[in-house]
């Protein structure tokens, strides 16, 4: 089905069994001492076992002045060697090629983790991290080049097949390349040649110690910043570096001035940055890889077929489903658990300085404890509620050999996610529920849709255990500012008719702090509300929303002229005019027609409580929103965890 995807590719002395690769991604599985952990090994081993062609392990620190967090591998110290050697050998036993990403962040970091001054070619403040770096002296540059080489030597010792010099994402090497961050007047700055010098020296030093291992780069194909490197500039850079000899070229995108592009969420069209690789591939013979928003083997095959690249990075796609390559090879396309580009549990957790997981795949980073094993004592289990939580519980329970009956009172499975994916640019979120539904249909779970479970059903069913995944519901708005203006909850807002929205001035009160207030605001604005204002009492609207989704949502809201007011408090209402205080200012929002109060939903535990009283001998479990109102990944995680417990 995918002939090109499964054609091996030889890079110097290593042969990739197929063209699917995972680009470097920080996992936060390293220990605070900068060592490889068992968790990290298990994580990568699962992906290698899944049949991936090449794994580029996470960005590893080449020098003590760089660290994204407390949990990065200290490749600048020999102490990492035993762990790293084990990691590499475990990946290699499946024929997967393994590459080490040599990384220095330069100024694009904060000094909290290293407790040393951050460093860069010029003392220009990083626009995102807002710290002023120390300008590297020439001696320090020399030391830096040497540290790249020393780190590369360690990687070679650990058995890596290849080395990747990280020249992308606005980190140290790109900071030297770009005139925006490099304003040196010595031989490392100014002209094209001079700005290129550091990259050249690093790559040469790495190649000098690489021996028979291959050496490639990852580089941004366009800086997307006015005054920065354009695609043509980057093409010149790559041609110059390639002339010195590169074994592969990885194209990427994104840095401090356009951060979301490094981690494209579902706003970005699929494969939207493949053109960057394509425009390099037409210039060089060296193998090229493309990345970003490629989550489907058919798209990957098409990219290869059209000749845009030689390898296709499917990084998050293989976080979401490590078995993607095998499933693609066996043509089990429907079985591939999709990455929906939500960023909620991979990048989102990095930002919270926690190890990565995945919205749809709770076993990420828990490969050992979350392995699905057959139940020693198969039971008859009822699962009440067909939202993401209940479906996950049912799926895993039946995989373990339990006999499962799934009750859902609505005609369709999917639960609140049906609403969740109905707001603008969140449609893709439902793909995870769609996958669960297909998995359930293939399993021997008895699915009862349009069937509200009652105490009687649970009593009569002779169940050994019941899993409640009954979700949460929106009740009366938690606040009513005035009787003059109708106040409604989120669910009611999603059900408004067109004439209730058009040309209305709508106020959205964010008391949920996630994406929902922004989602409903955008939807109402798209439906031609006259004006939409989002209020939050916090320092930021949608305070707890994953940052990239938020940045992208702001942009769209801006375009739709939706206004946000943070640190806001409704002081009083005059007729239909709302007077709001904001950091000492008073803002009048005139003529409000409708107030949408976006609260946290309330748990729906009625049935669970009844069972507790009436059937005390029945073992019960709570999953997802009915345990505590949270998000989809929490529901899925609960479902999976409970299914292993039953």
């Amino acid at each position: 089905m995918f002939p090109r995807l499964f054609t091996p590719l030889t890079i110097k002395n290593a042969t990739l069994p197929n063209r699917i690769i995972a680009t470097g991604h920080l996992t936060h599985f390293a220990s605070t001492d900068g060592l490889v952990t068992q968790r990290m090994i298990d994580y990568h081993e699962a992906r290698a076992r899944g049949g991936i062609g090449m794994i580029i392990t996470e960005s590893m620190a080449v020098h003590p002045t760089t660290a994204q967090s407390q949990y990065v591998v200290h490749l600048y110290d020999d102490k990492v060697l035993p762990g790293l050697t084990e990691l590499v050998s475990r990946i290699k036993q499946y024929g997967t090629v393994v590459v080490c990403q040599l990384h220095h962040m330069g100024r694009e970091m904060i000094s909290v983790d290293t407790m040393r001054p951050i460093v860069a070619p010029s003392p220009i403040m990083d626009p995102m991290k807002r710290e002023v770096p120390h300008e590297l002296s020439r001696a320090e540059i020399k030391e830096m080049v040497e540290s790249y080489a020393a780190a590369a030597e360690r990687a070679v010792k650990a058995g890596y097949d290849g080395l990747e010099v990280h020249c992308a994402h606005g980190y140290l090497i790109q900071q030297f390349l770009s005139p925006l961050s490099n304003q040196r007047d010595d031989e490392y700055g100014g002209s094209f040649e001079n700005r290129l010098r550091f990259a050249r020296e690093v790559i040469a030093a790495v190649k000098a110690v690489a021996g028979d291992r291959f050496v490639g780069i990852r580089i941004d194909g366009d800086e997307f910043a006015d005054g920065g490197l354009t695609m043509e500039d980057v093409q010149q850079i790559i041609l110059a570096l390639n002339a010195d000899g590169l074994d592969y070229i990885g194209l990427s995108v994104g840095h401090c001035l356009n951060y979301p592009t490094i981690f494209p969420n579902m706003d970005f069209p699929l494969g939207c940055f493949t053109y960057l690789a394509s425009n390099i591939k037409r210039l060089v013979d060296t193998p090229v890889y493309t990345s970003h928003r490629i989550n489907d083997p058919a798209l990957a095959e098409k990219i290869l077929e059209d000749g845009h690249a030689d390898m296709v990075a499917m990084t998050r796609a293989t976080i979401a489903d490590p078995e993607l390559p095998i499933k693609a090879k066996e043509e089990r396309i429907d079985d591939i658990r999709p990455c929906v580009a939500c960023l909620q549990r991979c990048f989102g957790r990095l930002r919270m300085r926690a190890p990565i997981s995945c919205l749809g795949n709770p076993a990420v980073g828990r490969e050992r404890e979350f392995a699905i094993t057959p139940a020693t004592n198969p039971k008859k289990v009822a699962v009440v509620g067909g939202g993401p939580g209940g479906m996950e519980a049912a799926r895993v329970l039946s995989q373990r050999g339990h006999k499962v009956v799934l009750y859902e009172k609505e005609q369709e499975l999917g639960g609140m996610l049906k609403l969740g994916s109905s707001v603008p640019n969140r449609e893709e979120l439902f793909n995870i529920a769609r996958w669960q539904i297909i998995q359930l249909q293939q399993s021997n779970v008895e699915i009862k849709t349009g069937y509200e479970a009652t105490l009687n059903d649970l009593r009569a069913g002779a169940y050994d255990a019941v899993v409640f995944a009954t979700g949460a519901e929106y009740g009366e708005p938690s606040v009513v500012f005035t009787e003059n203006v109708p106040h409604i909850n989120l669910k009611q807002a999603l059900e408004l008719a067109d004439d209730q929205v058009e040309n209305k001035n709508i106020l959205v009160i964010d008391r949920d702090y996630h994406n929902k207030a922004l989602g409903i605001a955008e939807q109402l604005a798209e439906r031609e509300a006259a004006s939409v204002v989002v209020l939050s009492s916090e320092v930021d609207v949608a305070l707890d929303m994953e940052s990239i989704n938020k940045m992208m949502a702001y942009e769209r809201l801006n375009e739709l002229e939706v206004k946000c007011l943070s640190k806001a408090k409704v002081e009083r209402v005059n007729g239909k005019d709302f007077i709001v205080s904001h950091e000492g200012w008073e803002v009048v929002l005139p003529d409000i027609d409708l107030v949408v109060v976006v609260d946290k939903p309330k748990v729906n535990t009625m049935l669970a409580k009844q069972v507790e009283q009436e059937l005390p001998q029945l073992k019960t479990y709570l999953v997802g929103n009915c345990a505590s109102p949270r998000l989809t990944p929490d529901a899925i995680f609960d479902g999976y965890r409970i299914a292993l417990e039953v």
Binding site: G228, L257, P269, S278, R282, D306, H308, E526, E559
Partner: protein, 286 residues
């Protein structure tokens, strides 16, 4: 049936025949041209006819020579050969048996039922190579063939041999075998341009590993498969601002229609009315 055809480029003298008396002049590159050996073209034609007469004939063309030999493979491909092998090595006249040894290795590596080659070459013309290959492989050889027929039901080949003065000898020969082909009235077909041009991508290249004595062996050389030209892909213009470039990517190159909020008819006409009044076109009645 796997048919391997051995072909090569030969040097042909062209230009003023008077000058050809002068040996020095013959060697002058301006007076010689390279062309596919005419007997080899006949062998390619014969292979092609076999392919047309029965199903499942797979033709591999093999050539030994420097870079210029690739042209022979291009022509072979143009005439319909399926697979192309280039052994990157040079053998002058006088080393025919060494060359035969090398070719024997290639064909047995490749697997074959029938080896076809020209009766002899236009330049050196010893006619030794084909027979040498047969000898080394220990299989029968039939020379001077002008017509090859396949007898039904997997029987032997029926070969018409040229025996001079217009006489033909018809012989039967089991497979595998080597047959050397005579030029005949069967004109070699003209190579198709598209296939001729596409040939370079298909060539499999070997280098010769020199070992002490006459022993030679082959090493497969990774020829980079010709790069497929990337298809056109939407690329934003570098001259646009960064924000505009990004916008184009997000929308796949289509400018998103900015949603203009509908203005009520009343306020539109009101604005026009005010404008006209303000500029003195209309008198304010009120």
């Amino acid at each position: 049936m796997k048919v391997v055809v051995l072909i090569k480029m030969t040097t042909v003298i062209r230009g003023n025949p008077n000058r050809a008396e002068n040996l020095e002049a013959i060697l002058d590159p301006g007076n010689v041209a390279l062309d596919v050996n005419s007997y080899d073209l006949a062998a390619l034609e014969e292979a092609q006819r076999l392919k047309e007469s029965i199903d499942y004939v797979h033709i591999t063309a093999v050539t030994v020579g420097p870079e210029s030999a690739v042209k022979a493979l291009q022509i072979a491909h143009g005439m319909g050969a399926d697979e192309l092998i280039w052994v990157d090595a040079q053998y002058e006249g006088g080393r025919e048996m060494e060359l035969a040894g090398l070719l024997a290795e290639v064909v047995s590596k490749q697997g074959f039922d029938l080896v076809l080659c020209g009766l002899k070459s236009d330049d050196v013309g010893t006619g030794l190579v084909g027979i040498g290959v047969a000898e080394i492989l220990g299989i029968p050889a039939v020379t001077r063939s002008v017509k090859i027929e396949i007898l039904p039901d997997g029987g032997p080949l029926q070969i018409h041999r040229h025996v001079g003065k217009g006489n033909r000898e018809v012989v039967h020969c089991p497979l595998p075998a080597v047959i050397t082909v005579e030029r005949s009235r069967r004109m070699p077909r003209y190579p198709g341009v598209a296939r001729y041009l596409a040939a370079r991508k298909k060539i499999i290249r070997y280098a010769v590993e020199q070992q002490p004595g006459t022993q030679v062996s082959l090493r497969h050389v990774e020829t980079k498969k010709a790069q497929p030209r990337p298809k056109k892909i939407f690329t934003p213009d570098d001259n646009l601002s960064a924000a505009d470039r990004m916008k184009m990517i997000m929308t796949g190159g289509m400018a998103r229609k900015k949603k203009k909020k509908a203005q009520s008819v009343v306020s539109g006409s009101e604005q026009l009315y005010n404008f006209l009044v303000k500029n003195g076109f209309l008198k304010n009645k009120a």
